[in-house]
Assembly symmetry: C2
Homo-oligomer: 223 residues x 2
């Protein structure tokens, strides 16, 4: 009856594609459309139609042969599957460049996340409000987390402080950490860390661009 705890019901690549489908579906809905075929969705990505059908099947969304998928119920299925039907309250820790940018990104709400408070150690930032979010001193995190029952944190501190701050988060009862610090974090088994590494995408881009601009460099097989 109970699903094995740590096994997601869908392949990871599927979960990663769902937000893009969701954006697309919302756009079509806002344009007044009611149904859309998997083929059409696929056409707007670099993905095969069968892939879209498989992905959507994971969320429980069901299409009608010959017709396609009803947009509204499909949106709801994806949102529910991702847990984006209810806002998850979260803290943001580290209000530097990246942290501030994320605070200014209103799109989080559309993605089920509500940043309810920011934290930093810099006295110049503490007490200020960045794009509507108040920044508190780091040592107030634990008590606020408990009072507000916040369980998720966005970690945008410098890499040198990452582990130290993480220990603090774990002590405060945080169970999900979106980690932008670039460091591996040591956490108890039941705490989830999602690693975000912008340089991964950059690596793919630059290596492809280099192949394009300077072909037959280091990269040839062996000869």
């Amino acid at each position: 009856m109970a699903p094995s705890k740590n096994k997601p019901a869908a392949p990871l690549p599927t979960i990663r594609r769902l937000p893009a489908y969701l954006r697309l579906l919302r756009r079509h809905r806002n344009a007044g459309e009611q149904v859309i075929s998997g083929t059409t969705i696929a056409g707007e990505f670099q993905v095969e139609p069968i892939q879209v059908r498989k992905d959507l099947a994971c969320t429980g969304a069901a299409g009608k042969p010959r017709v396609g998928f009803e947009i509204e119920p499909t949106i709801e299925a994806i949102e529910k599957f991702l847990g984006w039907d209810n806002l998850t309250q979260a803290f943001l820790v580290g209000a530097g460049h990246l942290g501030s940018a994320l605070l200014g990104y209103e799109g989080f709400r559309r993605h089920g996340l509500e940043i309810v408070a920011g934290f930093d150690t810099d006295p110049a930032v503490v007490g200020r409000t960045i794009d509507g979010t108040e920044i508190f001193a780091l040592d107030r995190l634990a008590s606020l987390a408990r009072r507000m029952s916040v369980r998720v944190a966005v970690l945008t501190v410098p890499s040198t402080a990452a582990q130290e701050v993480t220990d603090l988060l774990v002590d405060a009862g945080i169970v999900g950490i979106w980690n932008f610090s670039g460091r591996k974090l040591a956490v108890p088994e039941d705490v989830i860390v999602q690693y975000e590494d912008l340089s991964a995408g950059l690596a793919v881009l630059t290596s492809r661009v280099n192949d394009l601009l300077h072909p037959s460099s280091t990269r040839d097989a062996k000869a």
Copy 2:
């Protein structure tokens, strides 16, 4: 002799892991160390030792049995493989929240990318300097791209403007676009688009956190 143009010499997941290895190796180098074993590297990630060896093999880095990998040559191999041994000059288009944050991120240089100019349409921003990078009016992009021979752009404009700006970039001779707009971009075949979607990572985190906090919800197989 010539490698097939668009096939990277390494699996994509490998390329995405390399920047993390690189950061780690640099840290160990800066700590004064000279060699490191694949086993040690693996221990600092959620990765098997054999995976590290395979990944490093792709870059041409060679280890010594019983000893491990010499740090300095391995760093150089990864940098060369990714094309990070020479700085690639790039433009950043869209100096809003995310764009400004990226401009403030000094780490790009360590990742082979040098943002040499920013662009925006907002007159309030044009002419200003954000973290040392001057912001120009968008209509100056083409001439500057040609004069400076810039071939890569970071796209951080609102999704509604994404395609329009992309057409402009392509006309200006840009061949690599790091796309944060969340939109699929229509480009000629020989232009590379690297899609970056922060909400993908967020989806993985929230769905896992939801499984943890509210187990046995929608996600059970079927019963």
